[in-house]
């Protein structure tokens, strides 16, 4: 199966947009899991550091300059496709922070445990919500920071809220 058949990016797809382990070791960094050429470019303007670029064709996919990106996460809620994530592997020795867009209710609260989901929607366990940032009245997309074990940092991309025992 390929992305075009089921909407799940493959390892090969992800390898094209994944920063190096050296870069991950330097701090949080943004990953644009945007693989298809569609007419869309708000991410380019979203980055205050000019780290996201695109050719003059708005159908191109974006490129993240991992050296310019400091993982601030502003781009997450600005991507109409909800396809940008930030991973911080320097959070602690055992845990990484995954930041992702969230548009469901209820919105989790800081400190709450939520069920982490991978790119296929599979439940990966319960993890603590570290931070919740509202996109504001107009944008409306929340950015959630979830504390996950290091080895799941590039697996978990969503949560299901509620039902934690």
């Amino acid at each position: 199966m390929a992305l075009i058949n089921d909407g799940i990016p493959t390892k090969e797809d992800l390898a094209k947009v994944m920063p190096s382990e050296e870069r991950f070791a330097q701090g949080p960094v943004s990953i644009a899991e945007c693989f298809q050429k569609i007419p869309c470019n708000p991410c380019v303007k979203a980055c205050p550091r000019g780290a996201i670029s695109m050719s003059t064709d708005i159908n191109d996919t974006p490129t993240v300059d991992y050296d310019k990106c400091n993982g601030c996460g502003v781009c997450i809620a600005k991507c109409p496709g909800l396809a940008i994530f930030v991973v911080d592997k320097t959070y602690s020795e055992d845990f990484a922070l995954v930041k992702f867009p969230f548009e469901y209710v209820p919105v989790p609260e800081k400190g709450q445990f939520a069920c982490g989901l991978n790119r296929s929607g599979e439940e990966m366990g319960w993890f603590e919500v570290e931070r919740v940032v509202s996109g504001g009245k107009k944008n409306k997309t929340y950015t959630i920071s979830l504390k996950v074990p290091q080895e799941l940092a590039n697996e978990i991309r969503n949560i299901k809220v509620g039902g934690y025992k």
């Binding site: 058949n5 569609i38 109409p80 989901l117």
Partner: protein
């Protein structure tokens, strides 16, 4: 009989932008909308739009709709008739409509037809059971009327509408058991598919619905894998329990008024049905009659807005308005359309438009 300079039929993204563009050049516009509020399909689009800044990318569809409706309402050149269904276009150029309970005649100098599209249906046993909807209807129930339309949905069609409505159902607390798609590939934007996959909604390409069943209402469906000849593969049948089946199998342009006006209309598969033949300025083969949006071929709302602007500019310019600026603005709109259609997702549209040009329209 009401005399108007420019009549815009339809108050969706194309009609709103056509009205605003025509007015910006100084023309007087009457915009007729069948619904009780203008906005068309924008009113229920809760997701963020793609495109570039020029098409308000990043804003949610309903926010764009609201902004356009407010602009139109504040524009002294534009009169809006809501609850008004345009009924006919006669050979003497008179347009009739039902407005405030009366049959009203309008004589426009120019007309922009922006009637949009209707959802396609699908033939299968049991497709008349209560609980089978067009995906757009379910979206209206949820996002306009605030009604939870279902508990468990089977979505048929993985184009943008099928994917987006599945996402919005999830946001409303409704489970979509699966999105099935007969084609071997996802037709909509893959970011939408990825978004619902990671919410636990499987997208299954190469599957068709065999039948819906239930006692008086939908209780489930039989689906199966299909081969290259679109035939169900024996042994792959599956039973899906659901209380609602949403059909998101495409849209058909609503071209009735174009036919009545005597426009040359041709079947162009890539544009999703019969469409009026136009020139580059969106004028049909009937002088003074323009089209914009889904009526001229099914495309994204971003393109509908730009087409609306182009048709509005063209109609106003043909009346002598905006002599100094119209040509430049038309050129800019055309460039925007080219930009939106330049990628692989625009290939089908580009092919369709080539056929339109070959049929005699475009200059």
């Amino acid at each position: 009989m009401k005399q108007v300079e420019i009549l815009v039929i339809g108050g969706g993204p194309a009609g709103l932008c056509a009205s605003l563009a025509a007015s910006s050049l100084g023309a007087k516009v009457l915009m007729c909308e069948r619904d009780d509020v203008p906005g068309g399909q924008l009113v229920k689009q809760t997701h963020k739009f793609f495109g570039s800044e020029k098409q308000y990318a990043g804003d949610r569809g309903y926010q764009i709709g609201q902004m356009l409706v407010e602009k139109v309402a504040a524009d002294p050149n534009i009169e809006v008739w809501t609850d008004t269904t345009v009924l006919g276009y006669y050979e003497d150029g008179v347009v009739t409509c039902e407005h405030e309970g009366a049959h009203v005649k309008i004589k426009p100098q120019r007309t922009v037809i922006a009637t949009g599209a209707a959802e396609k249906f699908l033939s299968f046993p049991g497709n008349d059971l209560p609980g089978i909807y067009g995906a757009g209807a379910v979206q209206t129930l949820m996002n306009v009327s605030g009604v939870k339309p279902a508990e468990r949905v089977l979505m048929v069609g993985a184009g943008n509408i099928g994917l987006i409505v599945s996402y919005q159902l999830k946001q409303a607390g409704v489970d979509t058991v699966a999105v099935i798609e007969a084609l071997p590939r996802i037709g909509g934007y893959l970011v939408h598919a990825s978004k619902i996959q990671r919410a636990g909604i499987p997208v299954r390409t190469g599957y068709t619905i065999l039948e819906a069943y239930g006692n008086g209402k939908v209780e489930g469906a039989k689906i199966a894998k299909i081969d290259e000849k679109w035939q169900p593969i024996p042994g792959t049948e599956e039973d899906i329990k659901c209380d609602t089946i949403c059909l998101a199998v495409g849209l058909s342009p609503l071209t009735e008024l174009c036919w009545q006006a005597g426009c040359q209309v041709e079947f162009i598969k890539e544009l999703s049905g019969h469409v009026p033949i136009t020139d580059d300025f969106l004028e049909t083969t009937v002088p003074g009659v323009y089209v914009a949006g889904d009526v001229s071929g099914i495309e994204e709302a971003s393109s509908a807005m730009v087409e609306g602007r182009l048709a509005g500019l063209s109609a106003a310019a043909s009346l002598g308005y905006g002599k100094d600026v119209a040509a430049e603005q038309q050129k800019a709109a055309m460039a925007e359309l080219d930009e939106l259609r330049a990628g692989p997702m625009g290939e089908r549209i580009r092919m369709g438009l080539e056929k339109v040009a070959a049929k005699g329209g475009a200059k």
